[in-house]
Symmetry: C2
Subunit: 245 residues, 2 copies
DNA sequence: ACGCTCCTTGGACGGCGTACAAACTCTGTA
DNA sequence: TACAGAGTTTGTACGCCGTCCAAGGAGCGT
């Protein structure tokens, strides 16, 4: 009697619109648990978001959590789902705007949402994102691309490419520590990165050294948009090619 | 007395070309520890690559590992470095071949190496890849791009974009379970994925449903090369644009 | 032959995810 | 109104994990 399945997606266990359950009143809600998990995630990185930590934060025995979610993985999935659900669809739903603007808006919105919770990025790429909100977002992206004139196959491929780019970018940023808060305190993290940049052996890796100083000067959003621009160029060019042949 | 640093990169602790140490002979080498770690990683996913597991596999007490590496993170870093070091540079070092072919060769080679050890992908994006081998690989990529006529700034940006694409693709493939062995046994993983595809609610997400069936039919290498092609198109087009203006 | 250095080990600490059984609280029914 | 049973919460426990400490043993330099 653990969790109901629908389409491969394992939902939390709260009876949907419960008519009133049998036993004693539940002390918590799924949302409160996710709130606690997110707080811990933001405060101390993925490792801090432990079942015991969550339980302690909401003032409950560790095992009580397992009444709300079948296991820790389900908590993580639900949390990821919630974060994806916070993406504002209105920004890129407007079909009168150029499709590139719409995709850029989507990419920026997604990045902004995820950047608020860097620890969550590791959780997202730790498993498939196949919850309802993730599906809805994918659907929106496909809509934009078909609006741009791509057929079903091309839209599918382009959507996957864009997803790879967006999540890959953010994941690498977090991994490289460009984005603060990706890991627990570790106060000298920035210093270590700068040292790594500075001490790149310029004699052995001259191009890397030059590139490092170049990249270090970028506002990372700038590089993000540049890469996105190239990806969109490639998608657009491919459409033109196919149309002209 | 733990580990020597050089340029932000924390190397293993074995004295480089030791003239013969004082105490008793070391029972192991760094390499043997990494071998064991890799075996466990391949066999049981990232969780199986534990310090205790490694120690048991090489027939030694868990603590003995800490004589070779300062902590588990260092073992992981060294392992990632080794895997990156296995990439064959000769394939794309040939300056007579077109630059697109060379980048494609690099991308395919890297993917092949990482696909042999799916569990390692999560480890790579879990921290910065700033070891010597990673730097050398980056240097090679920059060479190819400058050979293609890009200036330093553009080469740096394009290289970062390509790195994002390659690692993002592989990471998402592993996360989605398209690549077997990414996690422990979990025997019905493939079945779950197929179920997720099949049970995509076609009424609520029609485009996603169509895309899912489309993507499911792809050999993933095909999609990988398609996306890479678009990225390269975008990079090439950008160069043309700048050159013509 | 001795002393010192270094490796290795047993044991322990605190933390993790989670299974089990008991205590308790409430609802539906008799 | 009383009771049965469903459902929540908790204490306890198991087997993992990464890592520290103190003790023991092995080998080189003197």
């Amino acid at each position: 009697m653990h969790a109901t399945r629908q389409g491969g997606w394992v939902a939390p266990m709260s009876a949907a619109a419960a008519p009133r359950r049998r036993g004693p009143r539940r002390a918590l809600t799924d949302g409160e648990i996710l709130d606690a998990a997110l707080d811990l995630l933001d405060g101390g990185g993925p490792d801090a978001a432990s079942v015991r930590g969550i339980a302690a934060r909401v003032g409950v025995a560790p095992n009580a959590v397992y009444t709300y979610f079948p296991d820790k993985a389900a908590v993580i999935r639900a949390l990821v789902e919630r974060l994806i659900g916070e993406v504002d669809h209105d920004v890129f739903a407007d079909r009168t705007r150029p499709w590139r603007e719409r995709v850029e808006a989507l990419a920026l919105e997604l990045r902004e949402r995820l950047s608020a919770h860097p620890g969550a990025v590791a959780l997202m790429i730790g498993g498939p994102m196949d919850g309802p909100n993730a599906r809805a977002l994918n659907e929106r992206l496909l809509h934009v691309l078909t609006d741009a004139g791509l057929d079903g196959t091309q839209a599918a491929r382009a959507a996957y490419l864009l997803i790879v780019y967006v999540f890959g970018s953010i994941a690498l940023e977090v991994a490289d520590g460009h984005r603060a808060g990706s890991l627990p305190p570790e106060p000298d993290r920035v210093a270590r990165r700068q040292a790594a940049f500075a001490e790149t052996p310029a004699d052995r890796f001259p191009l890397s050294a030059a590139a490092a100083t170049t990249m270090a000067g970028y506002v990372s959003t700038e590089q993000y948009l540049w890469g996105l621009g190239r990806v969109l160029d490639g998608i657009a060019a491919h459409g033109e090619t196919r149309r002209s042949t």
